[in-house]
């Protein structure tokens, strides 16, 4: 076939396309939009079907059977959920005037310019190879019809003869013409959409035509075609699926991947969301689009089978759509198929490039330019031209990048594999997008971490190994890993070699991306702006009405806003927009100062032109009502941080207050306890005082009144009075003692042998024991027990324990055992009686002030303070005073005090040397 003929046909087709696009734009200008129609909308969604579908599916089917289908089954399945899912995204985008998927992500996470910029970079890196594939398909299809098959010339053609380059340039021109004709607040391109819909019709018709010709022209229907194929074992193998685990995984992963791709590919987002004029169109599109996918796939396998039957092998399977009719001499059909392939490739390139250029302009270049003070961008009188210029340059650059990628990569990968690499790249948007519309807690940090990690792993495991395939890197990079580190092999991270490359990448990226998104979100606090945007996104259906609440709190002179709008949108569009606002709010004239709602309205309009983050910055400079200064504009961008710092400060103060309150509460509680103890103390002391007082008073009254007392009686009464007086004295002394102990913690400590203290105390009580006939059994160690103690105090403790033991020795055969055990760490002295003992539930209570164990019957001469004082003294010595008792068998009180570290004894002790 002659090159001229092909060029003529291609030119003619592109001319028709121009005409269609122009017609679409004209209709829109006159208010009779073609786009406001669910069928046009559904057809424009079919931009999903690219040259990959048109040529690549047949090539893939020729080698793997129906394994090309997940790419279309995924979108079919997810489209079922569009009414809920996509409608939400469309509604949000309409409210927020979202211009691209990067804008969407940036806007969701607090209008973050950084996040939008990163998303843009990801989109460009991910989609440029995909554009390259389309250029490649155009040049390959051209070559397939103009040069003999199997000629090697195709690999090294000079650049000026490369059809791909010219295709790139022509497409750049078309995109510039219809993608950037004017700057619209809605970022819609009606002519473009009409052209895309037209292309969808062409490619479907062309593919069906080839399919019908193959099925009914060459064979006697589908049955006949498949029967012929069944005769060849390699073809018959295509009729069934592989039941292996690997095929299972591939199928499921690819289905899921293409679900994400159809949602998040920049070009799909452009046609489905940005170009959507009425969300009700989704209702029809949600089943028309899958129907389109079904139809365009219907004849893939038949054409593949026919191609294999006619060409013998799958070497040129990617071009079977052209080669089969060409081989049968069907020139017209072949040309139609060529046009179909061209339309598939061009529609993808045009829409993808438009979407990328919008992103690059709004979310990358403009925010950067706004930060360069020398440019004074916000003060330029007409920015429309600047912005359109940026977009046009971006379109050319993206297409040239695509071309250079193609040249650099050579012929190595197939159409399908590069497409899947792009799919995997845009799938990285999934956590931030899906989390963004369903999970309010997702934060900017989480989204950023997830996205960056996901893309890093994607880059390492998919595009990087391609460089090795193309010879840019050593092959050992894939087989042995970088520097021979096996765990880092790009196709088998950590040795996971069971999955094919794309599922392998998907697994790791989704794990890292999703995991970091959730973890990062939970670990950080959303700023005020993030929270506000989160609720506007997640609860979009709850906020009824076309406009949400104003996020900007402040007012601005209307004149400034008008000037700003004119600068970015042009005079006519700006005035029309303000006119619309007046009409809608029924205002005779706009006020001098704009209220929040009008400011918000203007911001939304600007967002359509330059993206949410930039619009916020620009509006911020005006709403300050000062001469525009770029530094202040940038300050606005940092407002979020300030609010956040302020709220953190509040949070901190609140925590401090709470802590102080808690302390107060504890102190109050403690005071109450002390107060209660004091009451108890006073009442107990008074009780203890009353008993001897009662006796003394009663007896002295009797002695005073009664004159005829016998001398014997008198002495007995006097003795009681004396005893009770002594008791009173003792009591008062003990109370004072207790007070003194409480007040002065200082002990008069010296290094003494504890045995001496014990002996001292024993000698003091021995007479009393003998008098009461109590057997005293003493066991002391025969070595010194050095301790740093207050000798008098410790004696007091031991005396108390011993006199208690005597007091409660009510047994018929009373005896008390004193034992002492010394170690290098502690010395223990125990005093055991065989009295009534102390019930277990009272063994702690007896150490409290004025407490005497109830059931310890016997002469209760004690004040109840003894044990409390004793324990306090022992505690002052860093020791313990404890009791063990079995009721009915006696009680054992044990004092333990720390031992003084022994002096390093020279080995002069004969016994020591023997052992």
């Amino acid at each position: 076939m002659s090159t001229t003929l092909l060029l003529l046909v291609a030119t003619a087709y592109l001319s028709i396309l121009f005409a269609v696009a122009y017609y679409g734009d004209e209709r829109a200008e006159h208010g009779r939009s073609l786009v406001n129609n669910p069928y046009i909308y559904a057809l424009s969604l079919a931009v999903y079907c690219t040259a990959w579908t048109f040529y690549g599916s047949v090539g893939y089917a020729a080698t793997t059977g129906i394994n090309f289908l997940p790419i279309y089954i995924g979108p079919t399945l997810i489209a079922i959920l569009w009414w809920g899912l996509m409608r939400k995204i469309v509604r949000i985008s309409a409210h927020q005037r979202i211009t691209s998927i990067a804008d969407f992500i940036g806007a969701r996470y607090g209008k973050s310019a950084l996040l939008a910029g990163v998303a843009t970079v990801v989109a460009v890196i991910g989609v440029v190879p995909y554009i390259a594939v389309q250029l490649k398909a155009i040049s390959t299809s051209f070559g397939a019809l103009t040069t003999p098959l199997d000629s090697t010339a195709a690999t090294e053609i000079p650049i000026w003869r490369d059809t791909a380059l010219y295709a790139a340039l022509v497409l750049a021109a078309f995109t510039i013409l219809f993608g950037t004709r004017h700057l619209d607040v809605t970022e819609r391109h009606e002519g473009l959409v009409v052209a895309i819909a037209f292309e969808s019709v062409v490619k479907l018709a062309a593919f069906l035509a080839v399919g019908l010709f193959v099925t009914f022209g060459l064979y006697d229907g589908l049955g006949d075609l498949f029967q012929h194929g069944a005769a060849v074992p390699s073809i018959e193998a295509l009729y069934t699926v592989d039941a292996s685990a690997g095929a299972f995984a591939d199928w499921m992963w690819l289905t899921g991947l293409s679900m994400l791709a159809v949602l998040f590919l920049p070009r799909q987002f452009q046609v489905t969301v940005v170009e959507n004029v009425n969300e009700a169109h989704l209702r029809k599109a949600a089943w028309l689009f899958p129907l389109y996918l079904l139809l365009i796939n219907l004849f893939v396998l038949p054409i593949a089978v026919a191609g294999l039957l006619h060409h013998g092998d799958a070497t040129h399977a990617d071009m079977f759509v052209l080669l089969v009719p060409f081989g049968e001499g069907q020139t017209a059909l072949t040309l139609f198929a060529f046009i179909g392939g061209l339309s598939a490739a061009t529609s993808m390139v045009i829409v993808a490039t438009t979407a990328l250029s919008t992103m690059i302009c709004n979310d990358l270049v403009v925010p950067l330019l706004l930060r360069i003070p020398q440019l004074n961008l916000a003060q330029r009188s007409r920015l429309t031209g600047v912005i359109l210029g940026i977009r046009r340059v971006a379109i050319v650059v993206v297409l040239l990048f695509g071309y250079l990628y193609l040249r650099g990569l050579g012929d190595a990968p197939s159409l399908v594999s590069i497409g899947l690499i792009s799919f995997a790249a845009v799938a990285q948007f999934a956590p931030a997008m899906l989390g963004g519309i369903f999970w309010k807690r997702g934060t900017r940090t989480g989204a950023l971490l997830g996205l960056v990690a996901g893309v890093a792993i994607w880059g390492y495991t998919l595009p990087l190994p391609l460089l090795a395939d193309s010879g840019w890197l050593p092959a050992s990079f894939i087989t042995e890993g970088p520097f021979g580190i096996g765990a880092l092999r790009p196709y088998a991270l950590l040795g996971m070699s069971e999955l094919n490359p794309v599922p392998h990448t998907l697994f790791w990226t989704m794990l890292a991306n999703g995991g970091l998104y959730v973890a990062g979100s939970l670990a950080t606090r959303p700023s005020i702006m993030e929270q506000s945007q989160a609720s506007r996104f997640v609860d979009v259906f709850r906020h009824a009405g076309p406009q949400g609440a104003a996020p900007w709190t402040g007012s601005a002179p209307v004149a400034d806003l008008r000037a700003l709008l004119r600068r970015f949108l042009g005079w006519r569009a700006a005035d029309r927009a303000l006119q619309r606002y007046r009409t809608r709010h029924d205002l005779k004239a706009l006020p001098e100062r704009a209220d929040e709602e009008l400011v918000d309205y203007v911001e939304t309009l600007l967002a359509g032109a330059i993206g949410a983050a930039s619009a916020k910055a620009v509006i911020g400079s005006v709403a300050q009502a000062k001469p525009l200064h770029i530094g202040e504009v940038m300050d606005i961008l940092d407002e979020t941080q300030q609010v956040m710092a302020y709220s953190r400060e509040l949070e901190r103060k609140k925590a401090e207050l709470e802590a102080a309150t808690e302390e107060l509460r504890a102190a109050n509680q403690k005071l109450k306890e002390v107060d209660h103890l004091k009451d108890e103390f006073v009442s107990t002391v008074s009780h203890e005082l009353r008993t001897p007082l009662t006796a003394i008073r009663a007896i002295s009254e009797i002695m005073h009144q009664t004159t005829d007392l016998s001398p014997e009686q008198q002495r007995s009464f006097a003795t009681t009075i004396m005893r009770e007086t002594e008791r009173l004295t003792r009591l008062v002394n003990q109370v004072l003692d207790l007070e003194r102990l409480d007040a002065t913690p200082v002990l008069d400590r010296a290094l003494v042998d504890l045995r001496d203290v014990v002996r001292n105390a024993l000698s003091a009580v021995r007479p009393q024991f003998e008098q009461q006939a109590i057997a005293l059994n003493v066991t002391l160690p025969n070595r010194p027990c050095p301790a740093r103690i207050d000798r008098d105090r410790m004696t007091q403790v031991l005396l108390n324990l011993l006199s208690n033991a005597a007091k409660y020795s009510t047994d018929a055969d009373p005896h008390v055992a004193v034992r002492m055990a010394c170690t290098n760490d502690t010395h223990a002295v125990s005093v055991a009686d065989n009295g009534p003992g102390i019930p277990e539930d009272q063994q702690e209570a007896i150490f409290e002030k004025f407490r005497q164990a109830r059931n310890r019957v016997g002469p209760q001469a004690g004040s109840g303070l003894g044990l409390a004082i004793a324990r306090q003294i022992v505690h002052r010595h860093e020791g313990t005073l404890t009791v063990e008792s079995t009721p009915g068998e006696g009680a054992t009180f044990t004092v333990q005090v720390p031992a003084h570290p022994p002096e390093p004894v020279p080995a002069t002790d004969p016994e020591a040397s023997v052992s």
Binding site: H687, T694, P859
Partner: protein, 122 residues
């Protein structure tokens, strides 16, 4: 001869009480443990009980109530003698069935006068 039961665990208080009651011409029995009171009453019904409240084993309120529960309990006069001098303590004593409530330290004359009021004329 009227019979008086002194329930008190402090020997130094028992001494003057015993002396006073004997001077009034009564026979006196002394119990120092709460648990021994009811058996003592069963053994010999007293006409008057001088009852301390804080006792080992069983407190005076409890005892007072228990005595009133007995069939002959209402024929016994009970005077509570205790250091518990708060309003609530006194009310509780009366509620438990005490005939009189005297707080320690007491004036001998009070005890004698009150006792005479409840003792049958000898």
């Amino acid at each position: 001869m009227p019979h008086v039961l002194i329930v008190e665990d402090e020997p130094s208080i028992v001494t003057p009480l015993k002396f006073l009651m004997e001077q009034e011409g009564c026979s006196v029995q002394i119990v120092s443990d709460g648990a021994a009171v009811m058996p003592a009453i069963a053994a010999q019904r007293p006409d008057l009980i001088l009852l301390d409240v804080m006792l080992p084993s069983r407190n005076g309120y409890d005892l007072c109530h228990a005595i009133r529960e007995r069939p002959e309990g209402n024929d016994i006069a009970i005077i509570m003698l205790t250091v518990k001098g708060r309003e609530v303590d006194i009310e509780k004593g009366y509620a438990m069935g005490a005939d009189a409530y005297i707080t320690k330290p007491f004036a001998v004359a009070d005890v004698v006068a009150t006792a005479r009021r409840y003792l049958p004329d000898a």
